[in-house]
């Protein structure tokens, strides 16, 4: 098999396994259409660490350390673990925070967007317009010469900090550390057993590291270099979850009655627009940032910390979208709308400020 075909096969397998992982984890107890969701799991973990005090979304998700350590282990095995950093770290932190604010307005990262689309949630299909639009906006700046400049090689100890945080997180989750907050109701109270969450995420982290699967990168490469390679991962993920949903009779093509969702269309579009734009400026979607952080990239590690901070802000200041219920339509409130608008202003300012004439 040619190298190219092999790479395509690997990314299809990675996307399919990630989709299957989400289906299995939902069966084992994770919330509806949230078998796997980077934004939601970082938010729940921020809650467990009491960085925010929203009672329904506090649980140290073992999937987060699983992804970090899966990527770490495979990057070591494949001799790809490389401590690097220093490419506009605080800028990346801020972009990461706004990516999270956008994701929580929509109620999900690109991974959950695909899970929701594959379950028939039309709100996610509407959100996809924003995600793709945001990525397109990012590619406009990339073509104009946007760059967060070079990272430099770092000492081994710098690269090991984030995997060490991963070890501490899984120890905290496994031992049920009593200092951690745990939701008694709501999404944070719904979870698969710790060991399964961790082990399944280890496999996903390793596969994403190996395949370079990136959900923002998929659409970005279509716009920039007309290359479908990365997008195959997302397509495979969608197809696997779609088949599983039809098989289980849980496919429900509708705007309403969807788990943990709202139909505030404009803000679903703009929320995911912010995610797409920010992810393209960062060079990768939230899942990819976690995997790169596990592989030694401290810029990505700082981006993930930015995302956790964004999650804390989202819940401390009421920025996150409210879930539609029988009593209320839910949606994004005034604070959240302003936060998304400010996010666009800040990201545009960063994008314009970092356009440089390229000297190869």
């Amino acid at each position: 098999m040619s190298t190219k075909r092999k790479a395509t096969l690997i990314i299809i397998i990675a996307g399919a396994v990630a989709g299957l992982a989400a289906v299995i984890l939902q069966h084992l107890g994770n919330p509806g259409n949230m078998g796997f969701c980077i934004a939601c799991f970082l938010r729940d973990t921020a809650g467990a660490l009491q960085l925010h005090k929203a009672p329904p979304v506090q649980y140290l998700r073992p999937e987060i350390p699983g992804l970090i350590l899966g990527a770490f282990a495979l990057s070591l095995l494949r001799r790809e673990f490389k401590p690097r950093g220093g490419s506009a770290p605080i800028t990346r932190f801020v972009i990461g925070a706004f990516v999270m604010i956008g994701a929580l307005a929509f109620l999900g990262c690109p991974f959950r967007m695909v899970l929701r689309m594959a379950a028939g949630d039309l709100n996610a299909w509407i959100g996809l317009i924003g995600f793709v639009g945001g990525i397109y906006l990012g590619t406009v700046f990339l073509k104009k010469g946007f760059s967060l400049r070079r990272s430099e090689a770092q000492h081994l100890s710098e690269g090991l900090v984030f995997p060490t945080i991963g070890v501490l997180l899984i120890l905290g989750a496994a031992l049920g550390a009593t200092v951690l907050a745990v939701s008694e109701s709501g999404p944070g109270s719904m979870h698969a057993p710790v060991l399964w969450s961790f082990l399944i995420a280890l496999v996903v982290g390793a596969l994403v590291q190996h395949s370079r699967l990136c959900q923002a990168g998929g659409f970005r490469d279509v716009f920039l270099i007309k290359d479908l390679h990365l997008l195959w991962g997302t397509i495979a993920m969608f197809v696997v979850v779609l088949i599983a949903n039809i098989w289980q009779g849980s496919f429900n093509l509708s705007l309403t009655g969807q788990p943990i969702a709202h139909s505030d269309h404009l803000w679903n579009i703009l929320g995911l627009g912010l995610v797409g734009f920010g992810s393209t400026l960062l060079g990768g979607c939230p899942m990819r940032q976690i995997v790169m952080a596990g592989s030694g990239n401290s810029d990505s590690a700082l981006t993930v910390l930015g995302m956790i901070t964004g999650a804390a802000f989202s819940h401390n200041f009421g920025l996150a979208g409210a879930v539609a219920t029988a009593e209320s339509a839910g949606g994004v409130g005034a604070n959240g709308r302003w936060a998304v608008i400010i996010g666009f202003v800040v990201l545009l300012a960063i994008a314009f400020a970092n356009i440089r004439r390229r000297k190869a």
Partner: protein, 68 residues
């Protein structure tokens, strides 16, 4: 011969710089790369567009030579 130094740049900048160098038409193009992900991306882009890529490891980095 033109040279592109993509070391330390985030995706997709290495591919964009390589694409621009190839479009200028001065072959071969030599590309310095510091990570596997951009290396694979550049190789895929070049091969998809009918170029040949030779790879040489230098310490823990690579030099790619792209020709027709």
């Amino acid at each position: 011969m033109s040279q592109v130094d993509t070391r330390g740049l985030s995706c997709p900048e290495p591919v964009i710089l390589t694409k621009q160098a190839l479009e200028q038409g001065t072959l071969p193009v030599s590309v310095l790369v510091s990570d596997m992900t951009p290396l694979e991306n550049i190789r895929r882009y070049a091969e998809n567009n009918g170029y040949k890529v030779e790879e040489k490891a230098i310490a823990d980095e690579w030099e790619l030579t792209i020709t027709k």
